[in-house]
Amino acid sequence: MLLSLNWLREFVPFEGTAEDLGGRLTMAGLELDGIARPFAALAPVVVGFVARCGRHPQADHLSVCRVDVGDEALDIVCGAPNVAEGQKVAVARVGVTLPNGMQIRKATLRGAPSEGMICSEAELGLSSDHEGILVLDPSAGIGARLPDALKLDDEILDIAVTPNRGDCLSVLGLARETAALCRLPLNLPRIRPEETGSPAELSLSLEVADAALCPLYQGRIIENVVARKSPAQLRFRLQAVGVRAISSLVDVTNYILMELGQPLHAFDLDRVRGGRIIVRGADPGEVLVTLDGQKRELLPSDITIRDTLASVGLGGIMGGLDSEITAETRRVFLECAIFHPSSIRRTARRLSLNSDAAYRFERGVDQTGAAYALDKAAAMMASLSGGSVRPGVLRVELRPWKAPLLTLRKRKAEDLLGVSLDDAFCAGTLTRLGCAVAALPADGGEPEPGTAWEVAPPGHRPDLTREADLIEELARVYGLDRIEPVVPSIVRPLSRAGSPESAHHFRIRVKQWAKGLGLNETINYSFVSHRELDVFDPLADAPGRISILNPLTDEQNVLRTLLAPGLLSALRNNLAQGSPGARFFEIATAFTADAASVTTAREEQRLGLLFSGARFDADWPQVQADADFQDLAGVLQHLLRAFSLPAADLRPADPAAYPWLAPAVTIHVGDTPLGFLGRVKPATADSYHARKPVWLAECNLDTLHGLYLAVRTAFTPLPVFPPIRRDITFICAPGITHARILEAITALPLPLLADVRLIDCFEPQGTGERHLTYRLTFRHPERTLKDAEADKQRDAVASALPGIIAVRL
């Protein structure tokens, strides 16, 4: 809301600066966003008196003037046809820069010296009028600053008005607030238009179908009007608050909207057919062309203003093109109505039609102020357009506004705010805000009866409907900043003791693990594009995805079903910056559609890991290499160890399930599936500009958390007797995996075998075979083992295994 300080002062004698007012309003909940000085460039322009004016001896279209600007007289050559002796004019002296950037210099025009410029409205940035110089009122003081002489609204406060304070979307509303906050009187002069001619009701009758949609519909008829250019001050004032001046008829409706917050609409009465205005819902399938020239398809829930044939306007939002005010308009029906906020909002939103009128109706317009606004508007219109107001207000008020009667208990306010309040402050504040306040008799039922009041809020405060709203008003005026801080003692109920670790805390611990291990946390958007997801998600057409119905861009039109796209995008961003590699992790939600969920979504917390490029951050003394499967697999096993879980079982995955990974493996803990791991196929990696292998894993953190919560750590006594170790190397045929060998060894009946681990893996070139060396640890629980016993056990392994799987020694 753009508020002119001068305009405000017409209603309230506020003496402070714009900054003072902005500060007061801000601390009362009406935040100052900024102060604009739209006419700042005009400050050095002064009022001059054209003492002499004669034709230029060398040029017919130029005049040579002698202009008195108070402290001196200037010779000025002027090209405007309308300049004349005896005028008061706007003078820019040498050195002044006008709003259009023109710099005034001393000049000689065809031999005549010129020491300044007599300005037009366009040159002053006041309008686009180039027709001639701006001629000021004869009362303007010679030498006065032009902004003062024109009473320009030169200080404009931009106030952010919250949705509950529709009443402050006007000069009057902010003046009321200023008066209440600064304890100043509000000056609202009575206005009654002069009425002539036959009663208005002889020309037009009104009918309203629905009291809820339109509690009040009223208007006046103004005749014999001629649309003109509005007076300068009105035009400049509208311009200062961002409204374009159009004509004396239309400008009045905008002026009253800005001043009183009451939207008005002026119909050309000669284009309203049948002498009747009907307010009701649109007919099914009805189409209306609105003022902006757009064809609007209407629904029966839209409020239309109609004549006896069709719609002539969309109530509270925008008029129809056919009944628009034009230069030919002579008779005006000036509508001043109240429409239902949410109905207006539904229609305006559906049609994407956000007019100033709709904006105010959505937030509530003061029904009790509508009559005043209509009278003031009618009087202004008649006076500015040379017309006359027909006697009588046409009015249908099916539902008069009724103030709610609220009870305010002082004790309740004190309990909520944590301060003690003075009776006089409570009653006085609400009274100053326009409420009718009556003390209620003390309630004898309570041991210590508190003060209470019955409060009836004014019509312009439809937001005050409950005791809580009144307490807020008290707090706001009292000053929230004056309430002393108290640190609360928070009571924790015993019933919540011993709850399992929360998902949040588990996530934080996983993040700490990842950081400690040396991974870099990323945060990626939860949405990606369907197109991007198609690469990862083999079930493109399956109902597994959750689309965004109103995405900002097609790049963000679906929720991610896995973390891989975001991690890969992060990799791409870094490769573009020349990063040699990445070790990323992210903990975030993967979303899949779930018909059984009330939110339609199944949300799974995931840990995503990505390794690509340089294994180490630094080179020497490390031996640099590209990250590979062992890096990622090792990190994954480390995660499980870190949460006291057994090693993961990594099995080849069904390639169809991960068409973008090769190799692809699934991660299981025991029989519980935990996620997947693999290398991104080069074609997919390439689309993220990755030339080096990209290894990626995702784990379901909810599952991991569940497994972790089930862990019961129990102490195992340390072995007493020393172990004996024996190494054994198998030459393995292609296809024989490490897991297969381990499985075969551990299946043998070897009661003394305590541990088997791989200690070397060698792949001679060309054979396809691998040499895997294992270290077997033997131990007897009750005595020291003899070398011969260990040898015998090792030999048992050596002789048994080639018979079970394709290995030799």
């Binding site: 909002r345 945060i523 109103n550």
Partner: protein
Amino acid sequence: MDLTSSLESLIPALEASLRQTASLDELDEIQVAFLGRKGSLARLMGCLPELPAAERPAFGRIANTVKERLTALVEERRRHLVEEREQSYLARFDPSLPGRAPWQGTLHPITLVMEEICDVFQAMGFEVASGPEVETDFYNFEALNFPPDHPARDMQDTLFVAEGVVLRTHTSPIQIRAMLERARPPVAVIAPGKVYRRDSDLTHTPMFHQIEGLLVDTRVTFAELRGTLTMFARQVFGSDVAVRFRPSFFPFTEPSVEVDISCILCAGEGQNADGSACRVCKGTGWLEILGAGMVDPNVFSAVGYDPESCSGFAFGLGVERVAMLKYGITDLRMFFENDLRFLTQFA
């Protein structure tokens, strides 16, 4: 040469060899050559049976003396070489060489700030709560006193996934979930999480992070809201920070406030030392960091709490905003670009 002189000649022979020895490995070889099982000494000792029995004891004594002498010579040389090696290591030692560096991990600045804030509130007794990111209209709006077709809904441009289902526009639905889950006061929760709005420009990203706080008990006051948030501001931004409460509007709190802290760059002066307007607070001296208020009675009614017998406060803050202030980050979008040169500045 008789056996005895052969034996005795081992000593000068070893001395000559040791003089040539520069490394411990060579020393080991020489030790084996002279004193090993098949070394020179052993070979001569092997001739013992060939001697007349009467000469054997004398030869044995000489052999022992020679063996002791040889051993002493080797050990002396060894001590010398070890000492030499040690001196040489110390002479070459360069403490400025890089270490064998383990990977350096980092947490995202959003995580760091979120955890710092959660820690402050947990120390005061708040419990961490979470909720889904896809929410129903009931939790995201209706129960929070945003009636349908109310302009308050314009305050949050919403992304929809289905009729009546949205990406949560704030963490406030977790208030509703926490109150319903606990069924009665007291409720003291802090809820960090991702939120979504249909908004993208220099100062808005469609996804960002919030932290919600809620305290409900039989008699919670606005003064306690002030105390809680002043505590938070000082813990996170320093003990000299001033806190300002301005009335505002949120549908789910009444009274509602916006909370400003004194500008951390210009210390609330509004201007720099040279008199120019402060870039961070735009000359106002204040920075808006969160919204808060006393829980609206309609919210209590929506979750079945009696507004007459309980009261509470709620607050919500933008994590990116706090992180930007705390670290002096000027571009919001950097949070989601995951540039390692950015990420590795925070640990």
